[in-house]
């Protein structure tokens, strides 16, 4: 019995999960509306976009890289999904093009980082600007409104399955799939090795460049498809969609135990991090904290979460929520 508890205590994601529970409880006491079905659905809806981007970002961060271009990509594909109808195409066309854009951006990032061995911070910062510029040119001042959103996308955004928003279910399933792949598939486990010790990985025969490239492509693909979710969530898209969201995705990862230093962390942690971020945002509203204090409180909680995670995880040997793997 005690060994089970001991094992549980060593789970890397535990401290942040507890922090989340505490924040949720405090909010719930202060405002019972938070714990209603509507309140919780709110959190899940709000979390979905950041969560899907955080899941994608995990693939890249564990390799000790980063992808800043996701904000521009998701905004672009959200717009494309909405504009497809007006351009005379079907929703499937829109989906295919969104996926294509995501893969293209991911491939560019991946090629430059993996094969030309360029620093990912610089490369993805550049693609952030490039994609946004191209996106803006295409979108101009056009705003996608509810009636231009394809019926299928609208259905995803508006419906619930036993009370859980479809959008969130999709993201949750994605998390399970990616999490499983990252634990079981040899090729995916290599990503951790690359992040922990690059030269050792090369010496061990891991095809580093190929792994890094494919990881960026995967991130891009997920981001591209996530545009559908963005459109489904807000029923609107324009040239400003997705701006700045990459920082939230990265913050969610970091809070969730996906270390910037690489080699550690899981998509489950990223999800918890995203939920925590969203809970804090909802909490600020629900607790009635004066508007002008909210950003400061948000920043403080962020730093507290990162510090707490660092403090607690430095005292235990890190294992992931699904058992030890590194």
């Amino acid at each position: 019995m005690t060994s089970l508890i001991q094992k549980a205590l060593r789970i890397r994601e535990l401290p942040i999960f507890l922090f989340l529970v505490v924040v949720a409880l405090v909010t719930g006491f202060a405002n019972p509306a938070f714990f209603t079905v509507a309140g919780l659905q709110d959190v899940l809806l709000g979390v979905s976009i950041v969560a899907v981007l955080a899941i994608a970002q995990t693939l890249v961060i564990v390799m000790k890289h980063i992808d800043l271009s996701v904000g521009s990509t998701i905004g672009f594909t959200a717009y494309v999904m909405g504009a497809a109808g007006s351009w005379g195409h079907s929703v499937w066309w829109g989906l295919a093009v969104s996926l294509g854009i995501g893969i293209a951006v991911g491939a560019i990032n991946g090629f430059l980082v993996a094969y030309m061995k360029l620093p990912s911070l610089v490369v993805t910062l550049a693609t952030l600007y490039l994609v946004k510029g191209i996106f803006n040119e295409i979108a101009g001042g056009d705003t996608i409104t509810g009636d231009r959103v394809p019926e299928a996308v609208n259905a995803i955004g508006a419906n619930y399955f036993f009370g859980v928003p479809y959008i969130y279910i999709i993201v949750f399933v994605l998390m399970l799939v990616v999490g499983f792949i990252m634990k079981r598939m040899r090729a995916a486990r290599d990503l951790y090795a690359i992040g922990s010790n690059l030269s050792a990985s090369e010496l061990a025969g891991i095809p580093v460049a190929r792994r890094v490239f494919l990881a960026f492509v995967a991130t891009g693909a997920i981001t591209g498809l996530a545009g559908v979710l963005l459109l489904a969530r807000y029923n609107t898209a324009d040239a400003n969609s997705g701006v700045g969201i990459e920082l939230y995705a990265i913050a969610a990862c970091v809070i969730g135990g996906v270390a910037i230093a690489g080699g550690i962390g899981t998509v489950y942690g990223a999800m918890i991090g995203a939920v925590l971020l969203q809970t804090i945002t909802s909490a600020l509203g629900a607790l009635g904290i004066p508007q002008f204090w909210q950003l400061a409180v948000n920043g403080t909680l962020l730093i507290a979460a990162i510090s707490l995670d660092r403090y607690l995880s430095s005292r235990v040997k890190p294992t992931s929520i699904m058992g030890s793997h590194e």
Binding site: G141, T143, D238, N240, S241
Partner: protein
Amino acid sequence: MQKKFTRIAVVTAIVGALFATSVVAPASAATGIKTGLRIAVIPKQVNSGYFEAWNKGAQKACKELKAKCDFIGGTKATGAVQVQFINKAIQKKYDAIIVAAADQNAIVPSLKKAQKAGIIVITSDADVAAASASARTVTIAPSEASRIGTAEVDWAAEAAGKKGTVAILSAAATAANQNVWIAAMGPYLTSKYPNMKWVGGSLDKAIFYGDDDTTKSTAQFNAILSQYPDVAAIIAPTTVGVLAAAAEKKKKNLSVKVTGLGLPSEMAPYLKDGTVEKVGLWNPIDLGYVAIYAAGHAKAKTFTGKTGSSFKAGTKTYKVTAGGIAYLGDPFTFTKSNIATFEKVY
């Protein structure tokens, strides 16, 4: 034969030139504005449907005045970015600048610099701070600020059956226009509709800032409902906010009434399906159109911008009121019955 042809050509040319100048001169005489003016039209930011409509109006006026108008601006609606474009206009020696202030304070020094260089400065849609009114000749404002605020309260009260609580989903906390409108809303609600109150008991508590950002506006809409689940109506005096509120209301099938300032092209689906009963807006096309004429007249020195002076734009005359403001008129109200006319216009 050659000589005769040449003579005909010369005569034709002279007659043509006389004709051309006589066509040009009347335009000049009618408005008093000379042709060939170069005007810089600077929005808060490009990539905005609202400002593209604003520019449409400006370009229409420029065509009538045979002026050359350049629509220039940055992709971010900040003062720092806008200053770059104002500086560019100064360097390129434009005759006039029409600007929708992205920041009511930050652009003042550069506008003053422009004026010193002999450039006419007109603000349209968004003005500089009242204390710096001297940095522009006149501002073209949609309607009297209090009218915009009180109109929105009327729409909200009407939709909610004149009872219940009301909240406001605004733009940025520093947005000057919104703040003025909200200030007018405060006392009006409590005095005209005794059965209605602001949520939280006071106007201050009822304002939520969506920063003209869809994600944030949606989050704040949900925050309002989370803190005040019985709110009867939400007023969003910003096109981004009202669109986000309407979309979220429809998605979650809520009963709270939503109204505010909305672009007819964006709000049409929500008016048609009953999510929103009424929204209103002035026509940004007019804001751009009138501003160009003000600039033209000011350049021709037939308009000073002083309180009480007036100028003509198209067929209407506009008078300058205290503070150097020229108003367009009451906002339009859009409902299910009239939206079809407007949704293609702007």
